[in-house]
């Protein structure tokens, strides 16, 4: 089975080479069948990589420890789910998994869009195929997942214990689906530039293909946060770690694109800029992979470190050189079509939105690479960690929240002074009242007050947006409020899906702001002793130790009382994994809507006492709820409408007609 896997990788290399060349030659010669053959070759590549993935999975599940990868990332004691997850638990496997997702995306592009975007496809397919070619080269020559050991070990080493967590089983795939998926919008953008098809077509295609990975990327980031929160044991979910930053940056530029794309769609402006954003997003994804894999910058994600860094840096340079020269070549054809009528318009708001998002992106980028720059040029080692990123990004974030609320209050083209006054009144009042209440409640943290007040501003503006629309709909259709609301949301999915995502962002920001009110206490308790922290009383009951094939665990049991009433038993623990020197901290959390009571077992002194670290994290659950709303909102926005279905139907019929006759594709 392993040999089949390796063999199919070899064949996939050849086929992806063909998929790279054939469509381009076909378009030059006007040979439709050559183009089709390239597309089919790509579908074959997808099938071949799938075979390779199945082969590796099979080796993992059958505990074939002669395969080095299997021996390194799994063992017999691991629960089934982690054996499955071991596919992306190590270097070689995760690269194969990455390539697999890429081919699936590419195949979907071919199957769904080969007809609708007929003239872009001969250029888009080779771009995706080139990426697959690159990855397959890495599989074969640098990170082969099918290498055999000269002997068969009795058992494997097992997955890194930090990764043995349910969230970890889904966080990497989600993130990969996000990062890898950006290859498709990139391919379409490059195809538009290459073929000179610079009308709206590419924009429609890219927007849809961008929305999917963008959602995965956002969800993946939050899942990573959830994992850090419950597994790393420092009471937080976001540490501005270089690898976190690396996947956050493409999300920022993709967000910028989703907004500025609307300007191009409505007004024919910012064409050049939108192409740059798509290319930048993909380049940042590759850059992120490069950072993670090369270990060039210290990170908690060091478990993926290896020597394939140079491959990615060369690849990144190729991408940039190629796209920039294309942009240069088409520069004259990318002029704005319209004139700005008023500065008080949605266009201006979107430009400012792009300014803020890219400003934040640069701040994150700069902070991430600065240690490297400093060491290279001044030979001085320095650290750039969370305090830096927080200080720089909090003010930028506040402007971003404001724009989230203010943007939708401006109309396209121009907004009259009266309507501005009308639109801003209630949100403005909501913000001021919130600020006043918070200050009256004794909250002195200026940033926290500003952040929550701005959140209230956005909430009020969102609420009026939904309310007015529903009322208008009620007037025309004479139905109940809820039905009118649903009809409104269903009628313009993109618009209201977008607003739901805004709502999610506000929930996230509320959650982030909660960090300002975290209570942290380090306590040492003897058995039977208790301590009061805020409204909670916690009593240390006992220490227990257990052992299974995989690990030894030491757990403390504590009773938690809220306002003197017993609520739950907490069991913070330390796990020591046998095949790793590293232990993990198993946090215990009592969660309620308002806040989390979060406790870590720090140390123990046999029978006498144990030391605990307690965090009370207010509002943290707003982050997770925000994450769910974010996914629902984007799903709402991208769900095919009746119009999309009609379009697909027309496509099918049109292509049946076209497919039978010879069409010339010569530009």
């Amino acid at each position: 089975m392993i040999d089949i896997g390796y063999f199919s990788l070899c064949v996939a290399l050849a086929f992806s080479g063909w998929a790279m060349v054939a469509p381009l030659v076909g378009v030059r010669r006007g040979n439709e069948s050559l183009i089709r053959s390239g597309e089919r070759a790509f579908l074959a590549v997808c099938a071949l990589i799938t075979v390779a993935v199945i082969a590796l999975w099979n080796a993992l599940l059958s505990h074939d420890f002669q395969v080095q990868y299997v021996a390194e990332t799994s063992n017999r004691a691991m629960p089934l789910i982690y054996v499955i997850a071991a596919l992306w638990g190590g270097q070689e496997g995760s690269l194969l998994f990455w390539n697999w997702i890429l081919t699936i995306y590419g195949a979907a592009l071919v199957l769904i869009n080969a007809k609708r975007y007929r003239r872009l496809m001969p250029f888009a397919v080779p771009v995706v195929a080139a990426t697959v070619f690159f990855f397959t080269l890495i599989h074969l020559f640098e990170a082969n997942p099918f290498v055999r050991l000269p002997f068969t070990p009795a058992d494997g080493r097992g997955l890194n214990p930090l990764l043995q967590h349910p969230v970890m089983a889904i966080h990497p795939p989600t993130l990969y689906l996000g990062m890898v998926g950006m290859a498709v919008p990139f391919a379409i953008a490059v195809a538009a530039l290459w073929s000179g098809q610079l009308d709206q077509t590419w924009l429609h295609a890219v927007r849809r293909w961008m929305l999917v990975p963008w959602t995965f990327l956002g969800a993946g980031l939050l899942l990573g946060g959830k994992w850090a929160y419950v597994e790393l044991g420092w009471g937080g979910y976001w540490a501005w770690d270089p690898v976190e930053n690396a996947s956050f940056m493409p999300w920022l530029s993709a967000t910028a694109f989703l907004h500025s794309a609307m300007i191009q769609e409505r007004r024919g402006m910012l064409k050049m800029w939108n192409l740059i954003l798509v290319i930048l997003t993909y380049a940042l994804c590759i850059f992120g992979t490069f950072i993670t894999r090369s270990g060039i910058i210290d990170s908690v994600h060091a478990f993926a470190r290896s020597n394939i860094g140079p491959f990615f840096s060369v690849f990144l340079i190729l991408i940039l050189v190629f796209s920039i020269s294309l942009l240069w070549h088409r520069y004259r054809e990318l002029r704005a079509e319209n004139r700005l009528e008023s500065l008080a318009s949605r266009e201006t708001a979107f430009l400012l939105n792009n300014w803020v998002l890219l400003g934040m992106l640069f701040a994150v980028f700069w902070g991430t690479i600065f240690p490297l720059l400093s060491e290279t040029f001044t030979a001085e080692k320095i650290s750039v960690t969370a305090p830096f990123f927080n200080q720089v990004n909090i003010p930028i974030g506040l402007v971003l929240i404001f724009l989230t609320g203010a943007g939708p209050l401006f109309a396209w083209r121009r907004t009259s002074a009266e309507s501005l006054k009308r639109n801003f009144t209630w949100p403005g009042v909501a913000a001021l009242v919130t600020a006043a209440l918070l200050v009256a409640a004794g909250i002195a943290d200026l940033y926290a007050v500003m952040s929550l007040a701005l959140c209230a501003f956005v909430l009020a503006s969102l609420f009026t947006e939904f309310h007015r629309g529903t009322q208008a709909r009620q007037r025309t259709t004479q139905v109940g409020y809820l039905r009118a609301l649903y009809a409104l949301l269903a009628k313009s999915r993109r618009r209201y899906g977008g607003y739901l995502v805004h709502l999610a962002m506000i929930l996230l920001f509320v959650g982030f702001t909660g960090k300002a009110f975290t209570v942290e206490r380090e306590v040492e308790l003897g058995v039977g002793e208790s301590v009061q922290i805020d409204d909670y009383t916690v009593r240390y009951e006992a220490l227990a130790q257990s052992e299974d094939a995989n690990k030894t665990a030491v757990a403390a049991a504590l009773s938690l009382f809220l306002d003197d009433r017993f609520v739950t038993t907490l069991m913070p623990a330390r796990h020591e994994y046998k095949s790793f020197e590293q232990g993990t901290t198993e946090v215990s959390i009592f969660s309620r809507l308002r806040e989390d009571f979060y406790i870590i077992l720090v140390g123990w002194n046999e029978l006498q006492s144990a030391k605990f670290l307690v965090y009370i994290n207010p509002l943290v659950n707003a982050v997770w709820v925000g994450g769910i709303v974010f996914v629902l909102g984007s799903l709402w926005a991208m769900w095919p409408t009746a119009r999309d279905r009609r379009l697909a139907q027309v496509d099918r019929r049109a292509m049946q007609a076209v497919g039978s006759g010879a069409t010339t594709l010569r530009p």
């Binding site: 420092w234 079509e337 001085e380 960690t385 830096f388 206490r521 379009l647």
Partner: protein
């Protein structure tokens, strides 16, 4: 009851693990001056990172490794001796170099770390302004108000899209 028995059988590594924080217990012995609270220690530790080599520069205030623990104990000791936050941090910098600081000091070439983001935001806003003014100045072209169809060959897609738009 079950708990207690299990603890009796705790393996040696467990007992070893417990030693890491014994120095702190010693500090609490009678005779020592007022011990710094963990909150005070963390206020100082927050400005620094853990340099144990495995923790990839986690905050010294939150890192759970033994090294960070003993470093925090050192900070506690220094606080007990009446040292100020600045003094303690300066001492750590002397020992480890500026790499121990959580964010680069705002001086010398490291000033660039702080200035560049602000500078870029300023450049950005100037660019936005010039783009907006440029658009304002562009001649009104009513013909272009309709989304233009680029090269001639896109007829099918564009026509289809327009027709479908009229449906809605």
């Amino acid at each position: 009851m079950r708990w207690g028995r299990l603890v009796h059988h705790a393996p040696r590594w467990l007992r070893r693990g417990s030693l890491a924080w014994l120095p702190l217990l010693l500090l609490a012995l009678p005779g020592a001056s007022r011990a710094a609270t963990s909150a005070e220690i963390k206020t100082v530790a927050r400005d620094m990172v853990c340099l144990c080599g495995d923790c990839s520069r986690e905050s010294l205030a939150t890192c759970l490794c033994g090294f960070a623990q003993s470093e925090r104990d050192r900070i506690g000791g220094a606080l007990d001796d009446g040292q100020q936050q600045q003094q303690i941090i300066a001492q750590f910098v002397q020992e480890y170099g500026p790499v121990v600081l959580a964010s680069p000091p705002a001086k010398g070439s490291n000033l660039l770390a702080w200035i560049a983001p602000i500078l870029l935001l300023l450049v950005g806003i100037v660019l936005v302004r010039s783009v907006l003014l440029n658009w304002r100045r562009a001649p009104a072209d009513e013909a272009a108000a309709e989304p233009a169809t680029g090269g001639g060959g896109t007829g099918y897609e564009e026509r289809l899209r327009r027709e479908l738009d009229q449906y809605d």
